[in-house]
Symmetry: C2
Subunit: 380 residues, 2 copies
């Protein structure tokens, strides 16, 4: 185990109590344990040991991750030790483990990127947080798939404890993406419309609901599937104005399908390929399509005339680019408003809570091994 | 000949002296001529007859256009009668005649969209223009392929007569596109760079020169061709920093080719297909590609990650959208600065002057019947 690796591990897992790390402990248990104990003798505050999903190399998540116990960590004067309550398995978490995400922690690392926890211990200089408070790391940071996290107090954002836990755990990566995308690209006014593909995704469901709250119509495209009428009903119940399967849009003039809905100025694409072309077809002259995902793994193809004569703009959105430390205040304010909607039942989406002690079963579901499954949220 | 058609024709050709039009004259020469003569008896000022390239239906330009003589037109108090000196055959002129351009005159129509002329007669209320002045219709308007045009004085922009005629005739459609695209999408500072395909086009050549004047590096992509070294030399002589053939860019990391040139924030695409992908590859994170043409007739294909992780924006530019009457002042100021550069020899591009009495030979060249040819500029 190189020094570089163990240093990286410490940085990712919060502040360790000594030069030991769990990895060093694994390889040199006797020598290092003794050293750690000698520091404990100075009566520093220590976290409990942390059960964590760890990967030491990039690769298929089901084979490179394992659940191990990390040793206690010193809780320094500005640190807060948080007992995690819940954390989702997001596709981006999987891509980070696979090593295909543009920004990823140096291995070895603890998985996960967002979640909610309860304050367990606070350092002597910590203000505004106390044992029992619910907090989320905001901006989100690496390593939420573990039972205890020790990080500087600036990392933690206190939230209302009346929030349903699974929404608190998942508020950033998907709902905040939906909210930012609705606000950042075009000024939308009441009565305007947006169009999106991948409307059954959690971001898609959030867009429908956040648009509806603003009086903005949504035109939603879903893939052809068994039970598409049922899916349409669910999306309409969330507030969707129109829901079309892709095959319904194989018509000469797609805009003839819009009745009492203006042509959309803004579109969202998380699929690519033909499904992206359908979004472009709906857009009005001068409209913008924002790509935030590529579920079909197909590129986006656009005609020259779409740019020149229809004046379309194509942009991209990546929440992580925006989630810089200087945006923490704005981010937290948006989180609060989203969680408020969740408490009121105005922001809903399907999830499945999965016990941490059965992590790999949840991971298999998240990897799609059992077909389409609800978002898996680990319950610690 | 319907009334609608003859009314449309009059509107396009300026103000006629009576309810007669050349088309009516053609079909009912005796009756209508008599009517026109009776109005002339009131001593209104009349233009000379105008020799014009006319098309009465959309279709292949070489078969639907013919050169005919239009009858004299009244020069009303605010009108200026201009004797045309030169006007180019632009690809968009061809597309208008073919009927495939999004905005096109109602047929029957006179061809052409930009050009330069000399004031021949002015109406009694015209100020600031007199016989002998050089003027260009600005914003450009339909019907420049004719020997005399009568239009309201507001249409005409007086220019410096020291300007080489062929540059005055062609300053709007291509050079103004280049200038607007350099200014409208990204703030470029001295030392920055741009990348473009189709660098041998007139817009491409203008971009090279206008960028160089601003201290902006240009990275230029040309198609593989016999004599590409010679073409590279010509573009370098205009101020190009780098010129690559498409096949030279079949490398693993395209950016390794940039030495002492920063990654470009702005790219221009007038080709589409793979040539557009090459522009995208050169762009830096957060860069913008502006599409203003599609010479390959192939669409633009973009990966999802280009939008999400590289944060690229794709936009389009169409000069005609910007050239609204309220932009006339800004347009004229930009024209003046471009013509000033042309007079100083700082803005150059290849053209071929073609005599009007051999219009169809020039049209054949513009249609590509003799392979790649210089821009054809009709000399009246």
């Amino acid at each position: 185990m190189s020094l570089v690796k163990s240093t990286a591990m410490r940085a990712l897992n919060g502040s360790f109590s000594s030069s030991s790390s769990f990895l060093v402990k694994l390889t040199q248990p006797h020598v290092r344990r003794g050293q750690a104990q000698s520091i404990r003798a100075f009566s520093v505050i220590m976290s409990p040991p942390s059960k964590a999903v760890v990967y030491e190399r990039h690769g298929p998540p089901d084979s490179v991750t394992r659940v191990i116990e990390l040793p206690p960590v010193e809780v320094k004067e500005n640190d807060v030790c948080v007992k995690m309550l819940a954390a989702p398995i997001n596709p981006s978490d999987i891509n980070r483990i696979e090593g295909v995400y543009p920004v990823r922690p140096q291995v070895p690392a603890v998985g996960g990127h967002e979640g909610v926890g309860e304050v367990h211990l606070v350092g002597s200089a910590v203000k505004g947080l106390e044992r029992g408070d619910w907090v989320i790391p905001s901006p989100p940071s690496f390593g939420t798939w573990q039972s205890y996290i020790v990080k500087d107090q600036s990392v933690w954002h206190k939230i209302n404890k009346d929030t349903p836990m699974e929404y608190a755990a998942t508020v950033i990566v998907n709902p905040l993406t939906a909210l930012k995308m609705l606000e950042d690209f075009t000024t939308l006014n009441k009565g305007d419309s947006i169009v999106q593909n991948g409307a059954t995704s959690i971001v898609g469901q959030c867009i429908i609901q956040l648009a509806r709250i603003r009086g903005i119509h949504s035109i939603n495209i879903i893939r052809d599937r068994v039970g598409s009428d049922e899916v349409k009903g669910i999306l309409r119940e969330l507030g969707a104005d129109e829901v079309f399967t892709e095959s319904q849009l194989e018509v000469k003039n797609i805009k003839d399908l819009l009745i009492n809905i203006p042509e959309p100025a803004l579109g969202f694409n998380c699929v690519g390929g033909d499904a992206a072309s359908l979004v472009l077809k709906f857009l009005r002259n001068g409209g913008t399509m924002v790509t935030y995902g590529g579920m079909s793994k197909k590129p986006i193809t656009v005609s020259t005339s779409s740019f020149i004569f229809k004046d379309l703009s194509l942009r991209g959105f990546w929440l992580q680019r925006w989630l810089t430390p200087d945006k923490a205040k704005e981010c937290r304010s948006m989180i609060d408003s989203l969680l408020s909607l969740a408490r009121e039942g105005k922001l809903r989406y399907g999830m499945e809570l999965a016990p941490f002690n059965n992590f790999h079963a949840a991971l298999d579901k998240a990897l799609g091994k059992q077909g389409s499954q609800p978002k898996q949220v680990i319950r610690f």
